[in-house]
Amino acid sequence: MTPFKLKIITPEKTFFDGETQQLIARTTAGNVGILAGHTPYAANLTASPLKVMQEDGSFRVAAVSAGMVKVRANECVVVASAIEWADEIDIERAKRSKEDAERRLKAQASQKEFERAEHKLKRALNRLTVSGGM
C-alpha cells in the first residue's frame, strides 16, 4: 500500500511525525479508515483507540482523548488534546481518574457536573481499554 504523511499534534508536543499506510480512527459519525489519496476530509474524534499501521503491517494503537482528524493534499493531521501509545499509558493513573469520575457520577450533582464526570469517565475507560489494564 502507498504510504502517506501522518502528523499527530498535541498541545504539549508533536506526538508523531512520519509515514503510515493506513490510519483507523473513530469519529463522532463512526469508524473511518484513511488510506493514501483520501479526499479532503475533516471530522471530530471521540475518546477512542487510534490505530496507526506500521511498516510490517501491524497496527500500533494509541488512546486518544478528543480531537480532530483532517486530510488535505495527501497529508493527514490528527489534532488531539491528549494521546498516549498503549504501552505508555500509566494504568494506575487511569484507574485513579476512573474511580474519581465514578465517585463524581454517584454524587448526583448538577447536570453540568454530571456531564463533566461522564466525559472524564469515558476518557479514563478508553485509556484502560487501550492499555489492556481492564
Partner: protein, 288 residues
C-alpha cells in the same frame, strides 16, 4: 564606641549577604523555569494553529449558525483571570490584577454582571477579598500544567456557557514580550466573533463529517482549552521573567549595600587603628 559600631556593621553585612544568596538563588531558579516555560509555549503553537485553521476554514466555506458565534445579548460576563501563585515577582501580579479589576469595574459600570474564574493563588486571594462572584478557582496548576487541566477548565467554561450562566467570556493574562517586558492583556474568547486568517485556499472540497456545524462545535472545547493552555503557559513564562528581573535587581542592590557597608566597616576599623596609634604616640611623648 568604635568597637560596638564595627560589630553592628559586621552583623549587617552578614545579613545582607545571606539575603543576597537567597535572591541570587531565586534568580537562577526563575531563569531555568523561564527557559522551560518558553519551550512549552513554543511546543503548543502547532496544535493551536491547526485547530484555529480548521475552524476558520469551516466558517469561511459555509453559512452556518452555532451557539458559540451567536449575536450576544450581553447580560453577564465571565472573566477568566490568570495570575501567579507566588509573590516576589516585581509588578507581575499587581499589574495583571489591576487590569482585571479595571475591566471588571468597567463592565459593572455598563450594567453587566461580572462572574470570575481565577487561575493562580494570587488571583483567587485578590478577588475573594473584593466581593466578586468567583465561580471556580484553580490555584497552583500553572507550573506543572497538563492538557487535562486546561481541558477541564475549558469544559467547565463551555458547560456553563451553554447553560446560559454568562453570554460572554473574556480572558485576562500576561503575555511574554521579552525577558524584560511582560504585558497584561485582555482577550475576548466567546462568542467566537470572526474567524479570519486560515490558510488562504479558495473554496475547498473538504468533506465535513457529519456536518460543518458539528465539526465546528466539536472543536470548541479544543479551541478554548488551547487558548487557556497557551495563556497559562504564557503567563507562567512572564511570571518567571518578572521574578528573574526583580531578583536580579535585588541581588544588585544587595551588592551595592554590601560594598557601602564594607566601606563603612573598613573606615571604622581604620579610625580605630589611627586612634590607638595617636594614643600610643601621645603616651610615649608624655613619658619623654
Amino acid at each position: 564606641m568604635a568597637t560596638a559600631n564595627m560589630k553592628d556593621v559586621k552583623r549587617r553585612i552578614k545579613s545582607v549577604e545571606s539575603t543576597r544568596q537567597i535572591t541570587k538563588a531565586m534568580e537562577l531558579v526563575a531563569s531555568s523555569k523561564l527557559r522551560r516555560a518558553k519551550e512549552r509555549a513554543l511546543a503548543a503553537q502547532p496544535f493551536f494553529a491547526a485547530v484555529y485553521d480548521t475552524m476558520a476554514d469551516v466558517s469561511r466555506d459555509h453559512v452556518f449558525s452555532s451557539i458559540y458565534t451567536k449575536k450576544e445579548v450581553l447580560k453577564t460576563v465571565l472573566m477568566v483571570v490568570i495570575a501567579g501563585d507566588r509573590g516576589l515577582a516585581g509588578g507581575f501580579n499587581s499589574n495583571i490584577l489591576k487590569l482585571a479589576l479595571e475591566k471588571a469595574n468597567e463592565h459593572k459600570a455598563n450594567g453587566y454582571k461580572v462572574k470570575l474564574m481565577t487561575i493562580g493563588k494570587k488571583a483567587v486571594e485578590y478577588f475573594k477579598k473584593r466581593d466578586f462572584e468567583v465561580l471556580d478557582e484553580y490555584p497552583g496548576i500553572a507550573e506543572s500544567l497538563n492538557v487535562y487541566d486546561s481541558l477541564d477548565i475549558a469544559e467547565n467554561v463551555i458547560a456553563r456557557f451553554r447553560l446560559g450562566e454568562f453570554d460572554r467570556v473574556e480572558l485576562v493574562y500576561t503575555t511574554f514580550v521579552s525577558a524584560l517586558t511582560q504585558e497584561p492583556v485582555f482577550l475576548p474568547v466567546l462568542p467566537v466573533k470572526e474567524m479570519i486568517s486560515g490558510s488562504g485556499e479558495k473554496k475547498s472540497l473538504m468533506i465535513y463529517d457529519p456536518s460543518p456545524e458539528e465539526v465546528f462545535n466539536g472543536l470548541i472545547p479544543q479551541y478554548i482549552s488551547g487558548i487557556l493552555y497557551a495563556a497559562i503557559v504564557d503567563s507562567f513564562a512572564s511570571e518567571q521573567a518578572a521574578r528573574r528581573t526583580a531578583m536580579e535587581s535585588a541581588s544588585d542592590n544587595a551588592d551595592e549595600m554590601i560594598a557601602n557597608l564594607s566601606l563603612m566597616y573598613n573606615r571604622a576599623r581604620q579610625g580605630q587603628i589611627t586612634q590607638e596609634l595617636t594614643e600610643i604616640a601621645s603616651g610615649s611623648l608624655r613619658d619623654e
